[in-house]
Structures are given as C-alpha cells and as structure tokens.
Symmetry: C2
Amino acid sequence: MNQHTVKAYGDELNQLTAEVARMGGLAEAQVADAVESVARRDIALARAVVGRDVKLDIMHRDIEKKAIRLIALRQPVASDLRKALSAMKLSVDLERTGDLAKNIAKRALSLAETEPMQPLTRSIERMGRLVSLRLRDVLDAYTASEIDRALSVWQSDDEVDEHYNALFRELLTYMMGDPRTISACTHLLFMAKNLERIGDHATNIAETIHYEITGDDMVGERPRWTPTPSDTAPGMGQMPLPTPDL
Amino acid sequence: MNQHTVKAYGDELNQLTAEVARMGGLAEAQVADAVESVARRDIALARAVVGRDVKLDIMHRDIEKKAIRLIALRQPVASDLRKALSAMKLSVDLERTGDLAKNIAKRALSLAETEPMQPLTRSIERMGRLVSLRLRDVLDAYTASEIDRALSVWQSDDEVDEHYNALFRELLTYMMGDPRTISACTHLLFMAKNLERIGDHATNIAETIHYEITGDDMVGERPRWTPTPSDTAPGMGQMPLPTPDL
C-alpha cells in the first residue's frame, strides 16, 4: 500500500465518522424540535420536523453503503473495522430515532387541533428534555471518543423509564377522569412511549461507542427500572393501573 | 489459501446462515406463542415466552460476534460479505422481534387478571396470526433464498397496518364506552402496536434478503397505509378519533 492509498483510506474512515456525527446532530435537532412543537403547539415546527426526516433516511443509506464499501474494498481490521461497523450500527439507531421524532411531530399536529392539556403537555416536555439531553451527551461522547461519558449515559437509563412510568400513570388517571380526552391522551401515551424508545436508542449508542473504543461488549446488565410494590398498587376505580412497560 | 482453509471458511458462512435460520425459528415460535397466550389467557405459556427470550439475546450476540470475526479474519468480498453483513442485520431484527413478543406475553399475564374482553382479544389474535404468517413467509424466503417470496412479504406490508388501524379504532371505542376498561385496553393497544412493529421487522428482513441476494437496495417506496377521508371522520363523542399511527 503506498502513501497515497493509506491517506485516502484514513480519509474515508474519518469521513464516515464525521457523517455519523452530522447525522447525530440532525437526529438530536429533530427530537428537540419535535418536543418543542408539542410544548408550544407549533404547527409550522412540527411540519418542519416531518419534512426533514427524509434527510436522515438518506444519510442512513449513505453511511451504510460507504461502510460496506470500505469494508469490502479496504478490508480493515481491529479498531478500523470496529469504526466501520459502529458507523453502520449508529446510523440505524439514529434513523430510528428520527422516525420516532417524526411520529411525535405528527401527533403534535393532531394534538394542536384539540383542547390544550397543560399539565400533561408539560410532563411530556420534561421527559422530552431529559431524553434530548441523553442523546446530546452520548453524541458528545461519540465525537470526543469519551468512554466515561458514554458509560454515564448507559448507566442512567432508568431515569427515562421512571419518567415514562410516572407519565403513563398520569395519562391513565386523566383518561379515566374524563373519557372525552381518551383519543388525545392516546397520542400523548404514544409520544411518551416514543421518547422512552429514543432513550433506549441513546443507550444502544452508548454500547456501540464502548464496543468501538474497547472492542468489548458492555459488561453487566443494562440498568432497568423495576416496579416497586407501591407502583403497582391499585390507583383508582375497580382496576389496578397496569405496570406500564412491564 | 489451501483447500482446508477454503472449506473451513465456507463452513463458517454456512454455520452463520444456519444460526440465523434457527434464531428465526425461535423468534417465530415466540411470536406465535405470545399471541396464543393472549387468546387462551394461558399464564403458563406467557411465562414460558418471557423466560425463553434470553435465548434470543444470546443468539443475537453470538451471531454478531461470529459475523464480525468472519469479516475481520476472512475478509470476505461480494456475496460472502453480504451474507455476513445480512446475518448481523437479521439478528438485530429477530432480537427486537423477540423483545416485542416478550412484551406481549408480559401484558398477557396482566390481562389474565382482568375481565375477559372477547371481541377485542379475538381481534388481537387475528392480527397476531397475520403477523406470524408474514414472519414465517419471510423466514422461509431466507432459508430458501427465494427473492419472490421475500418481495411478496415486502409488498403486503399495508395489510398489517390496516389491521392495526381497525383494531386501534375498536379499542378507543371500547374505552370511551366503558372507562373502567381503560387500563386493560391500554395493554391491548400496546400489544397491537407491538404486533405492528413485528410486521415492520418482517418487512426489514425482506429488504435484507433482497440485499443479500442481489446486492441492491429495494427499489421504490415501501407500501404504506394512508388514511382515507372516511377513516379520519369523527367517530363518536366530541373528538374525532385520531389517526392511529399517522
């Protein structure tokens, strides 16, 4: 391999990493804007999120193609191979994150047509901010190759679950209290679920960063929220509130 | 490369494909059993599904490790590289499918404690059978390398969406009619959503098979259900039924 080939190869890998970072930036913005569009009942912003999602799909395919091409033609080994494989994995998580943000924005459009439900929307907003923060932290960890920061995102997975579970209970209580809100609350229910799943993708991303840097899988079980007896105690009416995500 | 190395390499690839097929068989059984456990309110079966899920997690990690090892050490090209990359991708979809089946089974356990809701459970069962069938077809396509069969699964994606949308409306109507059923219906709502997502994974698998065999991405847009005006017409009460998945 001559000097020129070596340089081009390193460039290709760096370019791949940069594209993933850029895709991460867009996904992060999509999530933040989707949450903002719910909080502010901002139809224009929600539409912008929906319209921009196709960019993430294109970037995902592009990164995947480039990574496969690089693996096939350059046959990288060790940490270079891990970089290429991680780029593929990360682009999948970011593409799915974008889909979930788009779905939140679409639901924001539907909700904008109904009566405002202040306390519930604010809970979604809080959960959304938390999830956005996790996504930002893990993407920072990626660009800086900071394994400790990735690890701290991975370890704080249960915070999002706790938020989700509280919000789930709040929503059920609201629906039971006023059945006319059921269809609107269903949107909020799926929004909360989507945010929880975005949190899961942030955790996946943390695991991929760990693998890329160390070559090892994360050790131990991913922290998981477990319902305590008081969480599953009957809440109201004749039926106990279900444990939300089980 | 001597004869022995070539043979061992071919063996490794075949073994990888066989492991994916086996993982597919388990995932398929998990989905079918999860749906069965809902239909028959079968607590033992639901528990079995929950307990077996860890096998899919182990298989997923194992396939991923073997595929990466094969790529790193054997440096396959062309269709062999696609086979290894596809194995990685398929194992992700199958692992996620398993998670969704486990979640359905856990919800079946919660539902077994509540009053039976016959018509709704039967709708879940019908949707579950349809999704199981798609999964079986696409896994048959994988083991037989039949691109036409994979394509037909890919093209019939909207059937599942139609089922989901009908079921979603049915559930909302039920909840509005009897708010005491809200928490139980929420389980059914998420079950339906999980089945829809398993259907999406079947579609992903079809795309991966297409890529593995041809080297090309699927051409054209994946078929998507679009709400017709009558679907979004106000159903009952003061609020129109939301378009379920948007």
